[in-house]
Structure formats: structure tokens, C-alpha cells
Amino acid sequence: MRGLRRAEILIALLLAAAIVLAAFSTPWLRFVLTVALAKGVAVLGILLLLRAGQVSFGHALYVALGAYAVAFLAPRVPEAALLLPLAAVVAGLVGTVVGLFVSRYREIFFGMLNLALSMVFYSVLEKLYHITRGTDGIRVPAITVLGQPLEGSSYDWAVFAMALGLALLFGLLARAYLASPVGQALAAIKTRETRLDFMGVSPRRVLLSAYVLSAVMAGCAGAVIAMATRHVTPLLAYWTASGELVFIAVLGGAGGVLGPFLGAATFELVRVYAAATVADAWGMILGAVLLLVILFARGGLWGIVAARLGRRRAA
């Protein structure tokens, strides 16, 4: 177990190096990987909730909040280093308010309430047409990164670095959090919630902490996606976007913090390759990949990696 945890760090570094190399060698991949890393961060939040046995079908809400926060604030605060924390704060605040409400609910009720709230936000983005431009979306104006006005590929690199930095930061944070008493109490919510009450611990507060953390992560992910695509639309908040996050979480495997990133990279690349092969049936291919993973590798991609490592260690 300890060995695996150490191997996890090594693999994370290797993976980061591979991603940098790929981004360096192939310019278009840099963008795809930036988005994949950002989604990985959002999925990390989903993973925290999955630990407690809860599936949110509405976390695209926070991705969209982070993205729109960037789009709305960028004209006034055109600096990435400020926009990112601002997006995190916005997502965190909304996450706290919503979390206080939804942390009372479990299973389908938890999942559907999240879905409902994200769909209400989606509608608001559409309805407030004169502010949000509806489905046309808002263009993110040029922003500086650490005071540097960057353009073209140097800007892309900066956003990529930001995504990678966030992935590492939140990866470590989530790892520490999951190993901590609160993180362990999350899994206890899944298996025997009432016992927590009889030990004097509020399951609701434990879940709330994970919920707020996941909202912040999704908000940061949304901010990076906004900075990378430079255009935000309400589709970011649609329920299918939330479904995609859960999809990636399961694809990558909920067993470790690397799962979300393996899942996100695989998801984006499979979609690109599938779309390049059969542009109008990529959904079918993605669906088939997910089915195969669930049926034959239940721990997801990280589960496969971990099993390999375990075997090598044993041999």
C-alpha cells in the first residue's frame, strides 16, 4: 500500500513529463491536453464525492461558474493570476451555499438536485440574453499572465502550464485530504453513515467539505477552460457536461488521484481519434470504450495501472 502510494507520485511525474513532451512535439495536442488537465481537475472533485458514494450530475455548474467568472471579470481584471483565484472563490461561495442544501440528501436525490440546479443555471445563462449573449456565448478578451501580455503559442503555453500546475497542486491536495480523517470519513459515509453520528461526527459537514472542495476544483477547471478556449457558452453547464465528468471519473477509476487525469486524457484523445475516424459516430465509440472498461476493468484505467504495479511488486 505504501509502495503503491510512492509509485503513484513517480507515475504522476512521468505522466506530467509525457504530457509536456506531447504538448511540445504536437501543437494541437497542447490545447487538447490543457483541456484534458482542466477536466481532470474537475473530475478530481467528482472523485471526492464518489468516495462518499455520492454522484453529482450537476458539477458542470461549477465549471461554468468558473468559466463565466473569467469571461465577465476579464475586461476589468485582465490578469490570469487574479482571475483564477477569483473564479475559485466564486465557485467556492456558490458551492458552499448549494452544498449546505444538497449535503442533506443522498444518492438519487443528491444527484438530481445537483442536476436541477445546474440546469437552472444553464437556463439563466440562456435567458439573461442581454448580459450573457445566450448560447452565442462570450468571448474572453486578451489577458496577461503574471503581468506579461502574451500572444499565440506563448499564451497557449502559459495556460497549459497553469493547467498542469493546478493538476499537480489539486492532485496533492486531494491526496492529502483523502488520507486525512475527513477524507476517510467520506468513505465512512458510503459504508455506515449512522455510525459517524454515533461517534459525534456530522456526516453532513464531512460531505459539505468535500462538496466545497470539489466546487472550487471545478471552478478552477472552468477558469482554465475559459482561458484556453477563449470563448464560453452555456453548454458548459448543460447536464451532459456533468455526465461527461462522471463518465471520466469512472473511466479513469476512482481508486486514486491519478485516475481523473488518466481518464480525462483518454477521454479527450479517444474522442479526437474517434471523431477523426467517424465524425458522426464518435459517441458510439466512446460509449463502447466505457462499456468495455466497466465490464472488464472495474477499477478504471488507474485500476489497471495499479494492478500491474501490484503484480510486478509481488513478482
Binding site: V55, L113, V250, G287, L291, R298
Partner: protein, 311 residues
């Protein structure tokens, strides 16, 4: 208030008629999902695909029947046939070869299996039926309209929508209630819904109950799709919007509750048509607002039994 009613009472009445008609369709789809969820505890995303395929199938069969010169009333048979064919083929296949393999897994995995299936079926529909809107208006034309008096005038309504659909929904509700309470098979299903462990411990073959329920749910979804084909055009993505709405109904109604599904469908249907009449911008969020409001007051859903946390 009284004055408002005097001015708008008649409008409200019209909205109620529309609401009931749309509630009937919502109910048909959602009740199947709720039944399946109650028994299998699997939130079946592919339910939306069953709806879409049922609709497409109804249009295809209906148009075929018209083409070979069958009498017009046969188009009603087409709707039923489409539902049964779709549900009876897809349901058992999916339950046997996919769901059965993941019953022991965490619920998120079960859900994702159906999500993956939904993505696959979505593209299959495009391959089979293309992307152009498909519809089949036969039954509506056949039944004609009924005129509802309004402000010295009449408002024509489709008899199909305001008479046939509610009647079918009521028959389904009544039939289901009778089946679940009065027949052995139905009681077995209820027993499994309430307490799966206890039911299997009593010797109930859960596998068969699951298969039957899932197939039945699939038929109901396909019937919902088939019944909507005469009034709506089917396009890619129609299954997706159906399933979100049905999810909202299930969460609001309470686990496996058919009366809950009926009441929720009615609230959503009427809520939406009232919104269209008086505050159109609210229409889209009505189902979600109803769900949030209901769960605030009744955390287990309208008819949900609070699950005793056993210790």
C-alpha cells in the same frame, strides 16, 4: 385574487387542459423509469433511448401500414406494436447481457453502463433513421379536434392529446396499481422494491423479477415515445431531453412510486402550461423548481417512504 380569477380563470382552464395532456406523456415515460429504479435500483439513462426508438419505430411501422393500404385505425395498432416490439427486444437483451453483469457493483457503475448504452443507441438511431425530423400524424388527424368554448369563441384541441393520451395514462396508472397490488407477480415486484434482501431471502427469484420489470419499463418508455410520435417530430437528441425530465420526476415522486410519478407528472405538466400562459420564461425551469420545492419539504420525494436507517 377573486378579480384575477375573473379575468384569467378561463385562461387557467385552458392551461389545465394542456397541462393534463402533456402530463399524460410525461407520466408514461417516467413511470417506467421509476418502476425500474424501484426494483433494480438502477437509474436507467437508456430509458431515453427506448423512448426515442419507440417513437421512431411507431413512425416507421405507421408509415409502412399506410403505404400498404391498411385502414386508418390500424395506425393506433402501429403505436402499440412499436412499443411492444421495441421494449420486448431491447429490454431483455440489455438486462440479460449488460445489467446482470453489474448488479453487484456500485450504483455509479450501473448508471454509467446505461449511460454508455445511451450514447451507443443515440448514434444507432442516427444510422437507422437519419437526422431529418420524423413524424407520423395519422392518429391525430383521425381523431380530429374538440372545440372548447372560450370567451365567446372556441379553442380547438386535438382529441388525441386531450382525450386519448390522458385516458391511456389513466388506464396505465389503474392497470399498474391493480397489477402491483392484486396480482402475485405485482406483489413480488413491490416486495423487491421495498426490501430486496428480505424478498430474496424469502425465495423470490430476483433475477426473473428484474428481467420482467426491466422489460416492462422498456415497453412503457417505448410506448411513451410511440404515443408522442403523432404530435411531435423526432430528431436526434430527443431521448436526452426526455431522460432528464424523467429523472426529475423520479426524484420528485419517490422511489418506485407510481402514484407519485402520476402526481409529479401532473404538477410538471400543469406547471409548464400555466407558465406558458402567464410567465413564459419560467417554463423551462418549472420541473426543476418543483423538484427542489418538493424535496425541501419531503426529502424522500412526494410518496417516498423515509428509509429507516437501520442500526
Amino acid at each position: 385574487m377573486g378579480e384575477w380569477f375573473e379575468q384569467n380563470g378561463a385562461l387557467l382552464g385552458l392551461a389545465l387542459l394542456d397541462g393534463i395532456a402533456s402530463a399524460a406523456l410525461i407520466f408514461m415515460v417516467a413511470v417506467g423509469l421509476n418502476l425500474v429504479f424501484g426494483v433494480l435500483r438502477v437509474l436507467n439513462v437508456a430509458h431515453g433511448s427506448f423512448f426515442a426508438i419507440g417513437g421512431y419505430m411507431a413512425a416507421s411501422i405507421g408509415l409502412l401500414m399506410t403505404a400498404v393500404g391498411l385502414p386508418p385505425w390500424a395506425s393506433f395498432a402501429a403505436l402499440l406494436l412499436a412499443a411492444v416490439v421495441t421494449g420486448a427486444i431491447l429490454g431483455p437483451l440489455i438486462e440479460r447481457f449488460l445489467l446482470r453483469r453489474v448488479y453487484a457493483e456500485e450504483s455509479v457503475l450501473q448508471l454509467l453502463v446505461t449511460f454508455a448504452l445511451f450514447m451507443i443507441l443515440e448514434d444507432l438511431q442516427k444510422i437507422v433513421w437519419g437526422v431529418q425530423p420524423v413524424s407520423f400524424g395519422g392518429p391525430v388527424a383521425l381523431m380530429g379536434t374538440v372545440d372548447v368554448p372560450f370567451a365567446g369563441d372556441v379553442i380547438p384541441y386535438n382529441a388525441y392529446q386531450v382525450i386519448l393520451l390522458p385516458v391511456v395514462a389513466l388506464l396505465t396508472l389503474g392497470g399498474l396499481a391493480w397489477f402491483l397490488r392484486r396480482t402475485l407477480a405485482g406483489r413480488v415486484i413491490v416486495a423487491v422494491t421495498l426490501d430486496r434482501e428480505a424478498a430474496t431471502a424469502m425465495g423470490i427469484d430476483a433475477g426473473r423479477v428484474f428481467l420482467l420489470t426491466f422489460t416492462f419499463g422498456a415497453v412503457l418508455a417505448a410506448l411513451g415515445g410511440a404515443l408522442s410520435a403523432p404530435t411531435a417530430s423526432l430528431v436526434p437528441g430527443v431521448g436526452a431531453s426526455t431522460i432528464v425530465l424523467s429523472f426529475a420526476v423520479v426524484a420528485t415522486a419517490g422511489l418506485g412510486q407510481i402514484e407519485g410519478a402520476a402526481l409529479t407528472a401532473l404538477m410538471i405538466g400543469i406547471g409548464r402550461s400555466v407558465a406558458v400562459t402567464f410567465e413564459p420564461e419560467l417554463e423551462v425551469v418549472v420541473p426543476y423548481l418543483i423538484m427542489v420545492a418538493v424535496l425541501l419539504l419531503r426529502p424522500q420525494g412526494l410518496f417516498g417512504v423515509p428509509e429507516t436507517r437501520r442500526i
